[in-house]
């Protein structure tokens, strides 16, 4: 999935737009989504679906798969949010919060009104904020994010680390997939027990290989004259598209007005 996100970031229809514009837009929406109500968060999420699916041309099914990740986490957090538990003797204290419940020994297990409201807030917020993040990941290649960070004086150490980690992820995932394929070819995952054992071996091997890779990449950097900073040059030309700029400004202004109207 990581490779596909990266590949789409290089091939999406918004690629030619300046990365600063896309990053700025997503960041402003992120802030607005963070401080606003559920309705605004839903509006932002839906608006971003249009940007991601229609304008950037990201496959709908793939975007749904991506959204399934935060929704999966949200689903996992639902039971403790929705189900309330209290002492049966003090049921009067939380009677108003109960939608449906039953006694269990000295306790009372119930479906909480507050829990439902809270899970709704978490759902819309996570949907909105991850949509902003996905917009960046799917429309701006990682290298360009780093270039923007460098342009706005982000510490070199951080940008260099990010770049190396990015390169490392690809090497690591390839190594991991090769290791697991080799284990599968020798019946390493025939049953649960062997599978867990094989996985532990693969993880240990991956660690050793990562350290070796790190050593070799350090030598590779040195042999190319590394001077303590990963500096590169590029000839990319970006094109400002006023249609998108106008829509972004108009849409954002509308959302901002609604947020302000709601609060004051």
């Amino acid at each position: 999935m990581h490779h596909q996100i990266d590949s789409l970031a290089y091939s999406n229809k918004l690629r030619s737009l300046p990365p600063e514009h896309k990053l700025g837009f997503a960041l402003l929406l992120f802030i607005l989504g963070y401080i606003s109500s559920c309705y605004i968060q839903i509006l932002i999420s839906v608006w971003l679906i249009i940007w991601i699916i229609v304008y950037a041309g990201i496959p709908f099914v793939f975007y749904c798969q991506l959204l399934a990740i935060p929704f999966g986490f949200w689903l996992m957090s639902l039971p403790p949010l929705l189900i309330g538990i209290g002492a049966f003797s003090s049921i009067n204290n939380f009677q108003q919060d109960v939608i449906f419940g039953f006694p269990l020994g000295n306790f009372f297990l119930y479906l909480s009104k507050q829990g439902i409201a809270q899970s709704g807030i978490i759902f819309t917020r996570s949907w909105c904020l991850t949509s902003c993040m996905y917009f960046i990941l799917l429309t701006v290649p990682f290298g360009e994010i780093i270039t923007v960070l460098q342009k706005y004086k982000c510490p070199t150490l951080l940008t260099d680390l990010l770049l190396l980690m990015y390169r490392f992820i690809f090497i690591l995932t390839t190594t991991a997939s090769e290791l697991i394929t080799a284990q599968k070819a020798r019946f390493g995952y025939l049953n649960w027990r062997r599978g867990i054992y094989s996985l532990s071996l693969a993880i240990a091997q991956l660690l050793t290989k990562s350290l070796e890779n790190y050593r070799q990449i350090s030598l590779g950097l040195t042999s190319r004259g590394f001077q303590g900073e990963l500096r590169v040059w590029h000839s990319r030309r970006y094109y400002t598209n006023w249609r998108y700029i106008n829509e972004a400004i108009a849409g954002y202004s509308c959302l901002l007005v609604v947020v302000l109207a709601q609060n004051y």
Partner: protein, 253 residues
């Protein structure tokens, strides 16, 4: 003479025995050198010593008569003059796109952007990478990655190009393209030293061959001279090229 190694010794920290032992050799300009030997004979270590990545524990390395001092400035110049292409290109590619990766070495040398732009454009054209200029490095094929790794070094205009098993893992088509590229580099005046296990290729390609065994130069000479030493090569567990085998067999029959 371009580069000279004088009684070089090198031992890895984790090893008791020297990997390179009393190695002396000279490389002259305008030649294609081959370096052969079994695994563990010290080929990669020798190339890394030649590139200045490792510092010999004893001995001296000179380029155009000037000894390598291993200070920051000397090493910077050394890396530019003696370029090394690793066996695994993944270890040398650092940037996200082909064009950015090509510019990396030039940026390290502090070359102005206008010149970087020109040199990148020329190198992209020379190495047939123009169409891939904005392509992400992570999605290149192994052959393309190897080509880019060589281009990364050649853009710095080195006097000598060192290659560690460049034909390893390549399919016949990619191998053919790579050999063609090396031939072009050589014609443009760069001395090449290539470590390989591909005896058929080195027999036809090299002007001079070094045979390494246990950290020493066991044999050197023209391909004809080297592969005539059948008994010595047998002792070193090395084969002779197929072409020679066939010729000998035809003559014998």
């Amino acid at each position: 003479m371009i580069i000279e190694f004088e009684k070089i010794f090198y031992t890895y920290a984790c090893s008791q025995k020297p990997t390179i032992e009393n190695l002396s050799l000279q490389l002259h300009g305008g030649k294609r050198y081959g370096l052969i030997g079994n695994n563990g004979s010290g080929k990669t270590t020798f190339l890394r010593l030649a590139n200045g990545l490792y510092r010999p524990h004893h001995g001296l390395i000179r380029i155009s008569g000037k000894p390598l001092n291993y200070d920051r400035q000397s090493l910077k110049e050394w890396y530019q003059q003696v370029g090394l292409v690793f066996q695994d290109p993944e270890q040398q590619l650092v940037a996200t796109t082909v064009e950015e990766d090509l510019s990396y070495g030039l940026c390290n040398l502090g070359i102005p952007n206008i010149e970087i732009e020109q040199r990148v454009a020329i190198t992209l054209k020379d190495f047939n990478l123009t169409e891939l200029a904005h392509f992400p490095v992570n999605y290149l094929s192994l052959g393309q990655k190897k080509r880019l790794a060589i281009a990364d070094v050649m853009i710095l205009k080195p006097k000598i190009l060192l290659l560690d098993e460049p034909t390893a893992y390549l399919d016949p088509k990619q191998r053919k393209e790579l050999i063609k590229q090396l031939e072009q580099i050589f014609k443009e005046g760069t001395t090449i030293l290539l470590a390989t296990h591909d005896l058929d290729f080195i027999y036809r390609w090299a002007d001079w061959i070094f045979v390494m065994d246990r950290g020493k130069i066991a044999l050197e000479g023209t391909p004809k001279q080297v592969f005539e030493q059948k008994i010595l090569l047998e002792q070193l567990d090395l084969d002779i090229p197929l072409e020679l085998k066939l010729r000998t067999s035809i003559i014998d029959n």
